[in-house]
Every structure is written in structure tokens, then in C-alpha cells.
Symmetry: C2
Subunit: 371 residues, 2 copies
């Protein structure tokens, strides 16, 4: 098991990742809380609830169930969950454990940060996306009809406990969707981690605990290093948005839910890599080719290797470009693009012509998965 | 005009109170914001919008209107306002000015703290309650069906600008309801401010700017002093809840809206004073009688002097007692009562028998306003 420390304005917190991470809840002084609630999904809780309660040595916890899927990331659901907390006697000294994937973490983080103006929460991510990405950094949000993640807060959890054993019951598709975020972190980190992932990608399966443990630690460290240097996304943290500008547009274009978030990131990584190539930021000469393969090609190959992505054949480039401008990270209508220059080196670029983005998407649509 | 400084974890901010306070917006570097929005009510904006824009020297601001009344303090309204911001191109660098009373401040504070995970806001309170109380301290919230102010955040504004001139268009009833919060602050502050208020109460009218200016400064200082010592309500700030335990129960009993918040505080101050007398906390001997009048009597007299309160004849004590337990400040079902021992001296008491609270309310119902 690996331990990291995340620094946050409102209080530092530990991230424990590896087999047995749930046991790290045992030292928690349960008696300092008036009650314990677990926000989760029925399916996950049926599989893992008993084991979690046992390993965490929780005497009593009241589960609150949320319907699976992105649709639950809404203010209406915040109201429903908060009302359930109130009905069940939740007060300012209650603890909310967020036991689930990105949706549970995002929705529950916002509930925890606003219920009675803030109660303690603990992130127990149960998906790959959750474990390597969304549970860390204290960001939460729900969606508006007008766009994704438009209402939320920065609110650090008390701790993050990620046990990869829980990934064994993930569907292959959901597991794969997390691998795209893993690849994103490897691109940000640089050649060393990228090479490691490149070698081990095929052994990363929901049931291969050993392989997962070996790769999750270094991947999580990438996110933590960035967040520790820029909690509030004032600059550096923008790099975590790699692949997400196109990705969020694709999610919006498909009405949130048809594609998984990670799948959109997968397409987004491909699109931004093509754009970076076409604009000359990421070209064979400037990068550090390994065995003659340029970085751009290596990124694309690794993304394709994860497996089949749902088709974007009927997502026209025009629709994507229109939605790009609605991205939350746009300021005064200006998109801040995270452009890979080479593995481990990103550049924030504004003012890229939308026509260039449109061409990149069109070319991506025309490409067939070489595998 | 008087200036105060409020200290807050997330950044200190100034409070300007007095005639001409709106002009203090002029030094604001407007160009650092991508857009300016004003959250307000149609009636208030029609009366005061032009003058505000002129005095604040605002070049351009987009008003967003909220229906008046407590019903607007809901997550549904947060969603509506945030969606309107998104539609109008609001981004992370937008500024939200909260131009209105307690409802606008509470709703708008929550919108500002969550829209794109937090944008700048400025409080411009236009009611007496807003100017002396709710605009200061960074607390905001909306209601759930299960209770009042159950969802909110701590989120300091950039500044608070309170010009009492705006009070001149308040209805007498709304103005009076603010006087109960003024009295609450005077009880907390002690004999000096209480005497001052006692002498000047009758001259406090919406159109008497001079009298208002003389009293508002010292009253606001009471709140600021408390908030500066305990931003997050970990202890001391509880005293601001004086009269609010009964008050919130009365608001709930009347379905929020039949009584104004300040009117419930008025009844709450009377009830807690009676309870404190009956339990022997606030008795003639221990307090510092002025001209032979004990503090308990002075408090009650001052509250009654404000004017007629809507009748509580059909609010049975049993209903109130049942609702007391739902107060947000209750922890593990325990009510933390703020009990006046004398002017300027409060005691936090737990474990008061509900039967005692019930008797106090019953006795209050039986009392006729002596005026």
C-alpha cells in the first residue's frame, strides 16, 4: 500500500492506495461523529458493503442510495440526498462516506460541502477513474442543463481510501474507460511512466491486483503532485484538463450518458494529439522518439490499444466545435487548450482557430482504429 | 460613513456602512471581471437600480431577477439562477452583485460560491436585516422541505456596501422586522448599546437617515466582532443565534412566509427571555437594573415597543416544541440554547427540559402586548 499527502487550504489529507486501504479507516475516532452515512449505489453496496464495514470496522452506518449514471449529478439529487440526511437525523457532526465512482464522489462531495454548511466526508473510490483521478483534489460538481460540472465547490475530504480489489467487479467497459485517465496521467508525467504503462497495459485487468497495484501508485502521484502545487486551478492544474476540452464537448454532444466520461477522454486525447500534430506543437522532430516512433504516434497507439471506443461516426465536427465554447474553463469566450508538446511537457495555448479544431475532429472521425 | 474589516479564512473584506457606501465600488477594477451580474428583485431594482449603477459607476451589468420571498431560497432557484448565468455567458471571472435583502444574499451567496466552483460576489444589502446582520459573516443557505438553511456554505464576499438611504422605500412592516435583529445585537453587546437603542428606537424610521446612520454603525460592529473571533461557528458565534431557536421553530410552524424572519426573531427574543427568567438565569437580582427595571423587563419592553407582531394565538406550544428539535444547530438531538443572563452576557446551555420551553411559549401566548 502507498500513502500520499495532499495539501489543501482547508486542511491536508492522506490518500491511501493499495490492497487493504479500507482498514485505514479503523484509527478514525468514530465516536467523534454523531452518525455515519454512506452514499453509494445499490449494486456496489450489495457486492462490497459487508466487506467494507468489516474491514473499516464500522459499527453502524446508514446507506443512502443514488441511481447509477451521470443523470444523478444534478441539484435535484443534491436536494434529495440532503433531505434524506435531514430525515435520518444527520447533523453537523455527521460523517458522509462516498463509496462509489466519479458520480458518487462528485455528487457526494457537493452534498458534504453544503449540508449544514459542510460536514466531514471520506472518499472511497470504487472505479478506476475514481481511484486515479476524481477522488483526489477536492473538486466536486453537478451538471446544469446548460453544461457539465457548472455547480460545485472545492472541498477536501478527510481521507481517500482506494483499494483496487474493488475493481474486480467492474464491467470491462467501465474499467477500460478508467484506463484513458491513466494514460492521460502518464502523458503528463513523462517518458518514464509512459514507458511503464506501455509495457504493462495489457496486464491491467480488473482481476489482476498485482499489476494494478504496481501502476496505480505512480499514476496517483502525478495527480497529487499537480494538485499540491495548485489546489484552486489558478494555473498549473489546468494541465489535468488534457483531452478534456474535446472530451467534454463530446459528452455534451452525446447528451451525457451515451458515452462514459473516460471514453470521451479517450477520444479527447486522440483529438488533441492530432490537433497538436497538425499545428506543429507535437512533431516528430521536436519530441523524443523511442525506437524511431514519435510521441504523437505513441500516444495514439496507446489509446487505441485500450480496446474499442464507441463510434463517433455520427458526431459531426461542427457540433463538437459549437460545444467547445461552452466549456467551463473558457474565460471570456477564450478556450485554454492543453497542448502536448512531448511526453511530460504541456503548453497552455489560447487563440487556436476553431477551424483547426474542426479539422482535427474531422480527421479523427475519418481514421479507423488501426487495431 | 463607517468602515470595518471582517477577517475570514478565505480572505478579509471591508464592510462600508453609511450614506454614499455604493460609491465605494468605484475603486473596483471592473476590467478584471469578464462580466458583471446583479442578482436582485424587480421591485428593488426599479426603484434603485439606476442610482446604484450611477453611484457605483458601473458601466454595464446584467440584472437577474428573483421572485421576492422565502420561497426563492431553494436549490431549484439556485439551478435557475446558475443556468441564467451560464446562458448569459457568465464564466469564472464574472462578478455577482447581490442587491437585495436576506433572501437575495442567502440565495446569491450560495450561487456565487458554487457557480463554476466559486466566483466573486459583493453584498449590497437593501433591507435592515440585511444591513445589520445577514450580509456580514459569509454565511449563506437555502431551505429544504425538511428545514430552513440546511444547504449552504461559508463564502466571504469581496465587500459589503450598506447605504441606509435605500431603506426609505421599505414597507413599515419589513423595516420593523429588521429592528428585532437590531435589538438582538444590542442585547448581545451590553448596557451601553442597549441604552442607546432604548433612547433612539422611536426615531428609527425608514426615512430618518441621520438616526439610522447613528445606530447602524455600532450595531454592525457587534456582529463583526463576533464573526471575527469565530468565522466558522465553532463556539462564540453561537451567541448570534439568540432568539433564533424559538424563531426558526415559529418560521417552520407557519410554513415560512406567513411571518417575516425578523418577526419570528422578535417572538423568539420574547420567548427566550421568558424561558431565561423562569429557569432563573435572568432574574432581577443578578442583573443590573436600570432605575429599578430588571433586564428581563427591559428586553421585553423594547421588543414590544417596535410595534405590532403578527399574532401567535393559533401556534400551539406543542407544535413549537416538536420543531425545536429540527434546528440545524442541534447536534445529536441536543439543542444549544443561547440564554441571556444579563445584557451583554449570554450562556450556552444544553439539556433544558422541553417541558420548560413549552411552558415559556404557552405563557408568551397568554401575554397580551402591554402597549
Amino acid at each position: 500500500m502507498q500513502r500520499f499527502q495532499v495539501t489543501a487550504q482547508a486542511g491536508n489529507y492522506p490518500v491511501m492506495i493499495g490492497r487493504g486501504a479500507w482498514r485505514e479507516l479503523r484509527p478514525l475516532p468514530q465516536s467523534s461523529y454523531s452518525s455515519v452515512f454512506v452514499l453509494t449505489e445499490k449494486g456496489i453496496w450489495q457486492h462490497w458493503g459487508k466487506r467494507f464495514m468489516r474491514e473499516a470496522a464500522l459499527r453502524k452506518a446508514c446507506p443512502i442510495f443514488v441511481p447509477p449514471g451521470e443523470k444523478s449529478k444534478s441539484l435535484a439529487e443534491v436536494e434529495r440526498v440532503a433531505s434524506e440526511l435531514a430525515r435520518a437525523g444527520g447533523d453537523r457532526r455527521s460523517l458522509l462516506i462516498l463509496f462509489g465512482g466519479g458520480v458518487i464522489g462528485d455528487l457526494g462531495g457537493l452534498v458534504a460541502s453544503t449540508y449544514m454548511r459542510g460536514i466531514d466526508c471520506i472518499q472511497v473510490p470504487t472505479t478506476l477513474v475514481g481511484q486515479v483521478d476524481s477522488s483526489i483534489g477536492g473538486k466536486n460538481a453537478v451538471n446544469l442543463p446548460a453544461g457539465k460540472n457548472l455547480v460545485g465547490t472545492f472541498y477536501p475530504p478527510r481521507m481517500v481510501l482506494a483499494d483496487p480489489a474493488v475493481l474486480s467487479t467492474l464491467s470491462p467497459r467501465i474499467f477500460r474507460s478508467g484506463l484513458y485517465e491513466v494514460i492521460k496521467h502518464a502523458i503528463l508525467a513523462g517518458p518514464a511512466l509512459f514507458d511503464l504503462l506501455d509495457r504493462h497495459l495489457d496486464s491491467l485487468r480488473p482481476d489482476n491486483l498485482k499489476a494494478l497495484e504496481a501502476i496505480l501508485g505512480p499514476v496517483v502521484r502525478v495527480k497529487i503532485d499537480v494538485v499540491n502545487r495548485d489546489e484552486r486551478e489558478s494555473g498549473l492544474r489546468q494541465v489535468l484538463n488534457l483531452g478534456h476540452t474535446f472530451g467534454h464537448a463530446l459528452e455534451a454532444a452525446t447528451g451525457y450518458g451515451r458515452f462514459l466520461h473516460g471514453e470521451c477522454v479517450g477520444w479527447g486525447l486522440l483529438a488533441i494529439t492530432i490537433l497538436a500534430e497538425q499545428l506543429g506543437y507535437l512533431n516528430a522532430a521536436a519530441s523524443t522518439p523511442k525506437k524511431g516512433v514519435p510521441d504523437s504516434r505513441r500516444i495514439r497507439d496507446l489509446v487505441w490499444r485500450v480496446g474499442p471506443l464507441p463510434s463517433i461516426r455520427n458526431i459531426p465536427a461542427r457540433a463538437i466545435v459549437k460545444l467547445l465554447l461552452h466549456d467551463k474553463k473558457a474565460v471570456a469566450g477564450k478556450i485554454h487548450w492543453v497542448i502536448p508538446e512531448r511526453l511530460g511537457k504541456m503548453r497552455i495555448v489560447t487563440g487556436i482557430p476553431l477551424a483547426a479544431a474542426e479539422r482535427a475532429w474531422r480527421d479523427l472521425r475519418g481514421m479507423s482504429n488501426p487495431r
